[in-house]
Symmetry: D2
Subunit: 323 residues, 4 copies
C-alpha cells in the first residue's frame, strides 16, 4: 500500500481532528502518502480529495469539529454513487481508507469494500459511545465533561432558588452520557432508555425527598427515554406536584463541540495510529478500538449488530448517592 | 447604625456571593453587625435571618448562585406582608439593608422605605445588564462569557457540517448579551429587541452570503426579539431557504450559573463595599453602580424608570465584521 | 459494624470530595453511622472527629480539595501516636475506616490495623496515578486535563513567537501525567523517569527538526526526570543551540486543584461505594480500585510494593506523532 | 488610501487575532486592500507580506496567539533596517499601517513615520494593561481571568492543607493583573510595584491573622514588586514564621495564551475597526483606545510617556475584604 485516504463522517465529535492528525503522521512515519477526503462519502463522490502532509495537521490536536468536514450522502447509498466514489479513489490512486465515524459510516464502508474491494479500517468517532468494539468512542469523554460542566452551572441556580431542574443530555438510544452526568452532577434521578422508569416512580421519589425537606432537585434525562423527553416529563411532574418550581434545560449541540479532553486526545491518537497500522498489515472491514486498555480490531459486522450494554451497577449508584 | 441586613432577590447571578462577601466584610471592617436574610423578601417575612461573620463568607467569592438563596414573594407585594417583614427586622434590630437584585427588588425596597422608614442601598445583581445607573450589572460579564463559550462549541459543529445555527441567548428586553456574543462569536446576524430586523432582511442576508460560497452561519437571537425566538425564526428561514441545514440551540439556564469572571468579582466587591459605606453615610433608596469606572449612587426611581440604551455602534460592528 | 470513620490523607486530589460523599451516602444507605476525621492521622490523634449526615456532603461532588482537609502527621509514625489515635476511635466507637490517600496513607493504615485491629479499606486518591491495584487514581484525569489546558495556552505563545517551551508537569517517579500531556499537547519530546533520554538525544532531535524548518517546539518534562528538571534541561539545550529562543514553564500546584473531571467523579463515586461495602463485608487492609473497568480489592502490601508500569507503547506514540 | 498593512508585535496577547480580523474585515468593508506583515518589523524588513481576504481571518476570533506571529527585530532599530522595511512597503504599495502591540511597537512606528512618512495607527495589544490612552488593553481581561482560574485551583490545596501560597502573576511594572487577582481570589495580601509594602508589614499581617485562627493564606505578588519576586518573599516569610507551611507558584506563560474573553474580543473588534477608520480619515501616530466606553485616539508620544495610574481604591479593597 502506497497511498491511503482518510475521512470523517456522521456527526462531528471532539477528537476527530486528533485522530486525523494521528492517521496522517502515522502514514508519513511509515512512508505512505495520505489524502484527506472532504465531507465523507459526499466528498469522495465529488472528488474533494487533497494531499495532506505533516503541516496540514499541525496545531489541530486541540480543536473541536473536523477539518475534513462531515456530511450525509444520499448518493452513496446507491450503487451509482459508490461507483463514482470508487472511480475517484482510483483516479487518486488511493488504495485503502481510514473512516472516522459511527455505525452508518462503517455500514457504508463494508458495502463499499464488498463491491469494489477497497479496504477500510474504522475509527469510532461519535459522542454517543454506543459502538460495540471499544470501551469508549472518540468524543464521548469530552461530551460528558461538557454536559457536566453545564449541569454544575444549572445547579447553582437550582440551589439558589429551591428548584427542580430537568436537564436533557444527548443519547437517543443509550444512557452513556446521562449516567455519569447524574452521578457526577449529584442528580437525584436519571432517566435512560436502557431501564425505563415510570413517571409514577419519578413523582414518588420526588415526593419522598420533599418530605425529607430536600428543596432542590436535578433530574437528568437522556433524550431518548421512552417516557418522553425532558419537557414532557417535567410537564407531567408539574401536574402531579404543582407546588414544585420545575424548569427544563436542553443542553443540546454544545455537547458536540469544544476542545477534546485529554482522554479523547489520547484515545484518538491511539486509534488513529492503530487504524493505519492495521491497514498496512492487511486488515479490512474492522474497527480499531480500545477494550480494557488493549488495542482490538472488531469486524464492522460485529460493531454494527451487537449492542454495548451499560454497566448495570451505575443505575444503583445513582440511587445510593442520592440518599 | 449598628446592625444591617443583606439579601439577594430575583434571578440569581454569578457574583452575588462576591457581593455578599464584600457587604459582610465591609460591615465588620466598620464595626457593624451584619445579618443574612434568606430567600429575599420571603425570608424577611418569615424571619429566616442569621448572623454572619467573616467565616460565613469565606471561600464563596468564586461560587455561582447565592448562599443567601433567592425567591419571589407574593406576600411582600401586600401591605400586611411588608408589615410582617418590618416586624422581623425590628425584632432583629436591623437598621438598614443592602439589597442585591434588580428592578423588582428595588421597587419593593423603595416602597418598604416609604412605609416603614428602613433605609436600603441596592446592588445591581442580574445577568441582563438592563439597569440604569451602572455600566455593567453583577453577573453580566460572566453570562456573556458562558454564552460565548457555548457558541464557540456550536461553531465547531456548524463549520464541520456547513450548517446554520440559530442560537438563542438570554435577554428578554435587551440585546446586551446577544451583541457581544455575536461580535465575539463571529456571527453573521444578530437579532435584538432594540432594533427589530424583519425576517425578510435576515433571509436576504443569508442568501447573499450563500452566493458568496459561505456555507456555515451563526445567527444570535436575544430571547425577546419581536420577530419571535430562535425556533420560530429558524422555521421561517427554513421555509424560505429549504436547502439550508438549519439548527436551533437555546443556551438557557447555564447562563445564570458558574464561577463569576474576574470582572464580576471585582465589580461585586466594589459595589458591595460601596453599598455598606453608602448606608453608613446616610444614603437610602439608591443603587450603587460603576459608571465610567467611577462609583455613583443613583436613586432607585431613576434606575427603575430610565432605560439604559445599548451602544448603537455595536450593531454596525456586526455588519462590518461579517463582511 | 455500626459506625465508620472516613479521612483524607497525603496530597489533596480533585475527586476526594466526591469520594467522601460516596462514602457517607453509602454508609447511610446501609444504615451505618459515619464520622469525618479531619486532617488525616493528625486529626485522628487529636480527636478532630465530626458526625456526618447526608447534608454534610451535599454540593461537594464538584469541588476540588477536601472538606476533611489533609495533613502530615509525624506523631502517627510513633507507637504512642497510634495509641492516641486508637483511643480516640474507641471513644467515638468507630469500628472501621475508609482511608482516601496514597502509599503513605495505606502504609500507616496497615501498621495501625496490625497493632490495634481497626480495619481499613483504602481509596486511591492522588493525582500521580502511581498506585498499583487500580488503572487510574482519583484526581489523575483532572490533573492531566488541567496540565493539558495550560499547555494549550502555552502553545499559543510558542507558535506566535517561534519559541521552544520546556514545560514541567508533576510526576516525581513516573511519566503518567507527562505522557498524555505530550501526546495530547502535540509535543515533540517527552522526558519521563521510566525511560531516561540523554540530553544529547534531545538536542539532536531538536536540531533535526529545526533543519526541517520547524520553528516552535514543546518539550514536556516530568519533574522527576533523571536528566534534571525543566530548568536544568532547558539550560543545557540553550547552551547547545544558543540561537533557539527557549523558555521554561513549571505548571506547578494548579495541577492539584479545580473541579474534578467527569471521569474522576465517577471513579471516586465507584470507589467510595466499594470501600464502604468492602468494609461491611469484612475486608481490611485492601485498597478498592478499578482494573479493566472491574472493581478489585488489592492488599495494601501489594499496592505499596508493586510498581505500576507505564504502557511502553505511549513512548513510541510521541515519536510517531511528532513526525 | 488603497492598500494597508497590519502586523502584531511584542509579546502576544489573547485577542490579537480578533483585532487582526477586525482590521481585515473593516478594510474590505471600505473597499481597501489589506496585507498581513508576518513577525512584526522583522517580517516587514524581510518582505514576509501576504494578501489577506475575508476567509484569511475566518474562525480566528476565538484563538489565542497571533496568526501574523510576532518577533523582536534588532535590525529595525537601525536606520538601514527601517530603510529596508520602507522599501518592502513601497514594493507592496502599502500606504498605511495598523500596528497591534505595545510601547516598543509604537515607538518604532513613530520613528518610522518621521523618517519615511508611512502613517501608522496603533492598537493596544498586551496583557499588561500598562498603556496610557485606553482603559484596558487587548488581552488584559483574559490574562486576569486565566490567572484567577489558576488561583482558584491553588486555593483548593491551600485550604485543604492549611497552607500559605505565594502566587506570582505577571506585571513587571504594574499591579494591574495582581490586584483583581487578589480581590477576586480572596487573597489576604497583594504586593504590587505601585505601592511597596515592606516584608515586615507582610509578616505582621500574617502573624495577626494566624492569631485569629486563620490557617490558609493567599499572597499575590506582581512579578516586579520591589521586595522581590514570590520566591524571595516566601523565603523571607518562612524565615520569620518557620511553622507556616508556605509554598510558591509562578503562574507564568499560561497568562499569555488561551481563547480571548468576551470583553477582549469586543475590545479588539472595536479597536480594530477604529484603527482602520482612523487611518482612512488621515490619522497617524495615534493609538486607538477606549476610555470610559468612548473611542479615543491618543498620540503615540503620550501613550509612551505617560503613566497610567492604578486606582488607589483597589489597594484599600484588599484590606477591607480580608477582614
Amino acid at each position: 500500500m502506497k497511498r491511503i485516504g482518510v475521512f470523517t463522517s456522521g456527526g462531528d465529535a471532539p477528537g476527530m481532528n486528533a485522530a486525523v492528525r494521528a492517521v496522517v503522521r502515522t502514514a508519513l512515519y511509515h512512508g505512505i502518502e495520505v489524502y484527506g477526503i472532504m465531507r465523507g462519502y459526499s466528498g469522495m463522490i465529488k472528488g474533494e480529495i487533497v494531499k495532506l502532509d505533516s503541516t496540514s495537521v499541525a496545531n489541530i490536536v486541540q480543536r473541536g469539529g473536523t477539518i475534513l468536514k462531515s456530511a450525509r450522502s444520499q448518493r452513496f447509498t446507491t450503487k451509482e454513487g459508490r461507483q463514482e466514489a470508487f472511480d475517484q479513489l482510483v483516479n487518486h490512486r488511493i488504495e485503502g481508507l481510514v473512516a472516522i465515524g459511527g455505525n452508518g459510516t462503517f455500514t457504508g464502508a463494508e458495502l463499499f469494500e464488498r463491491e469494489f474491494g477497497i479496504p477500510t479500517v474504522g475509527a469510532p468517532g461519535t459522542i454517543d459511545n454506543d459502538l460495540y468494539g471499544t470501551d469508549y468512542t472518540i468524543g464521548y469523554d469530552t461530551a460528558v465533561n461538557t454536559a457536566l460542566d453545564a449541569i454544575d452551572k444549572i445547579r447553582d441556580t437550582a440551589d439558589s432558588h429551591d428548584r427542580a431542574f430537568f436537564v436533557e443530555v444527548m443519547g437517543r438510544d443509550s444512557g452513556y452520557i446521562a449516567i455519569p452526568c447524574a452521578i457526577g452532577g449529584g442528580a437525584e434521578i436519571v432517566l435512560v432508555p436502557e431501564q425505563v422508569q415510570s413517571i409514577d416512580t419519578v413523582i414518588e421519589t420526588l415526593q419522598v425527598a420533599r418530605k425529607r425537606q430536600k428543596s432542590s432537585f436535578l433530574i437528568i434525562v437522556a433524550e431518548g427515554d421512552e417516557e418522553g423527553n425532558a419537557t414532557t416529563i417535567a410537564a407531567k411532574v408539574k401536574e402531579a406536584i404543582p407546588e414544585m418550581d420545575a424548569r427544563v434545560t436542553v443542553i443540546g449541540h454544545i455537547q458536540r463541540g469544544g476542545a477534546p479532553s485529554a482522554a479523547d486526545r489520547l484515545l484518538a491518537s491511539q486509534i488513529g495510529i492503530a487504524a493505519v497500522e492495521g491497514l498496512l498489515n492487511g486488515m479490512r472491514n474492522v474497527m480499531a478500538g480500545i477494550v480494557d486498555r488493549k488495542l482490538v480490531y472488531t469486524p464492522f459486522q460485529e460493531c454494527i449488530s451487537r449492542k454495548k450494554m451499560i454497566n448495570q451497577g451505575f443505575m444503583r449508584m445513582v440511587e445510593i448517592l442520592s440518599v
